[in-house]
């Protein structure tokens, strides 16, 4: 994966545009993963990814509300589509059709951790006080999400060591 380096934001509008993009990308990525799991009939994991998508979409709405309250109607992003994945987007290569809830939530936790670190780095380096304050709020949100995902993970027992055993694997050639 490409290295994620927090950009320097000229003002709060740029920062909010980036934050909104990150949350939207995270939500859409979970949707893609949920679709993949549904196609492969792993419905439990599809439900987890669908829920994560809804949570990220809600976070996106919250940020949009904050941006609206700050009257930042000229949102503009610093990045292009050719840039690296956002810090909260799941690595598509980490999915497996038989993956367990703990594994799926482990990916979610990793994303929340990365997002928290990303916003903390922005808060630490921003020169604009508004950007610094909003980035700190975002970082705190993401840290709360880490704790919340940890609680969710704790509801599941440890994975069966043979979790990826498939009685009818695709690799058998006729």
């Amino acid at each position: 994966m490409s290295e994620i380096k927090p950009p320097v934001f000229a003002d709060a509008a740029e920062f909010f545009a980036e934050a909104l993009a990150i949350e939207l990308e995270a939500s859409e990525r979970y949707e893609l993963l949920a679709d993949q799991m549904e196609v492969h009939n792993n419905r439990a994991i599809a439900a987890i990814f669908r829920k994560m998508s809804a949570i990220e979409a809600e976070h996106h709405k919250e940020i949009a509300r904050l941006a609206a309250a700050a009257k930042l109607d000229g949102l503009r992003a610093k990045f292009s589509w050719t840039g690296a994945d956002g810090p909260e987007a799941t690595d598509l290569s980490e999915a497996h059709y038989l993956m367990t809830p703990r594994q799926a939530l482990g990916l979610a936790r990793h994303n929340e951790e990365r997002a928290a670190a990303y916003f903390e780095a922005i808060a630490a380096e921003a020169t604009d006080p508004t950007v610094r304050a909003f980035a700190a709020t975002m970082a705190s949100d993401e840290r709360r999400h880490v704790v919340w995902v940890d609680q969710w993970i704790a509801k599941y027992e440890a994975d069966d060591p043979n979790w990826d055993e498939d009685p009818d694997p695709a690799v058998i050639t006729e």
Binding site: E18, L24, R76, A77, T82, L92
Partner: protein, 279 residues
């Protein structure tokens, strides 16, 4: 990354996705190629109705079904002739071609040579997993000689095909490689390929998680940005390929050949086309 300002961006990556859900295995690199293609089209702000994606047969060739552009899921190995016909008849369209190492280098190998030579303005994306996935794991032209499969015990013992060498020798105007572990990198290569006139070849390392479960982790370690600048000199590009281990990603070569364009197109009067055929 995405710009959410509606005023600034008319098309977002999600606008290029169809309602058909991909059946690729979760973890398959082809998911990343789909996402990268969407992002590339959004980066270039190409209206979906101005884009056509043509494919052959195989896992990778399912790509057109998942995009909200025009698409043609063709015959095994024959995506390039179909795309060549489409682009020459409708030069106004942006035409992408999706293929895999089996479809593109074996069944369609001959078409690959001549598409490079003809230099029609196409972007040819080949998802290489070094195996036939859809037909359950037979060795392909890029499979390593010692890769053990049920139908080739101990490996085929055959030297693998080197797609970039063939593309350069055959006259492709743009040659690049990407790895699906880096969606942004894949996006960038597809954007550059579309922007460069003529035949553009993007070789994408796209691991198969089912029949080549050795690839995903290993390729994440091996794939790295090429340490050299792109060149427009075929001799320099050829020298670089002599030491290429197959995991250098980035633009290798961007030539200056004029793309082939027919004198007449589908937009010309029928009488003019008939007159040309009558000559």
């Amino acid at each position: 990354m995405n710009d959410l300002s509606p005023a600034a961006v008319a098309f977002k990556p999600a606008d290029y996705r169809s309602a058909v859900k991909p059946v690729w295995c979760p973890g398959c690199g082809d998911h990343s190629v789909l996402l990268a293609t969407q992002r590339a089209l959004a980066e270039l702000q190409l209206p979906p109705e101005q884009v056509a994606v043509v494919s052959g047969i195989g896992c990778s060739s399912r790509l057109p079904a998942y995009l909200n552009t025009y698409g043609f899921h063709g015959v095994h190995g024959r995506a390039l002739p179909v795309a060549t016909g489409l682009k020459t008849a409708r030069p106004d369209l942006t035409v992408l071609v999706a293929s895999g190492d089996g479809d593109g280098f074996s069944i369609g190998g001959n078409h690959f040579l001549h598409a490079c030579r003809r230099n029609v303005d196409l972007t040819y994306i080949v998802m290489d997993n070094r195996i036939y996935g859809m037909t359950k794991g037979q060795p392909s032209p890029t499979t390593e000689p010692d890769f053990d499969t049920a139908i080739s015990p101990g490996g085929t013992g055959l030297s693998p095909f080197h797609p970039l060498v063939v593309a350069l020798a055959s006259g492709a105007n743009f040659i690049a490689r990407a790895f699906t572990g880096d969606v942004g990198g894949c996006t960038k290569m597809i954007v550059e390929a579309i922007k460069t006139p003529g035949f553009s070849f993007v070789h994408i390392l796209s691991p198969c998680v089912t029949f080549r479960d050795d690839q995903q982790k290993a390729w994440k370690k091996l794939a790295r940005g090429a340490m050299v600048e792109e060149t427009d000199d075929p001799e320099r590009a050829a020298r670089r390929l002599m030491t290429d281990d197959g995991f250098n990603v980035g633009v290798l070569y961007r030539g200056k050949r004029e793309p082939y364009r027919p004198r007449l197109t589908g937009g010309d009067p029928v009488e003019a086309l008939e007159a040309e055929f009558a000559q």
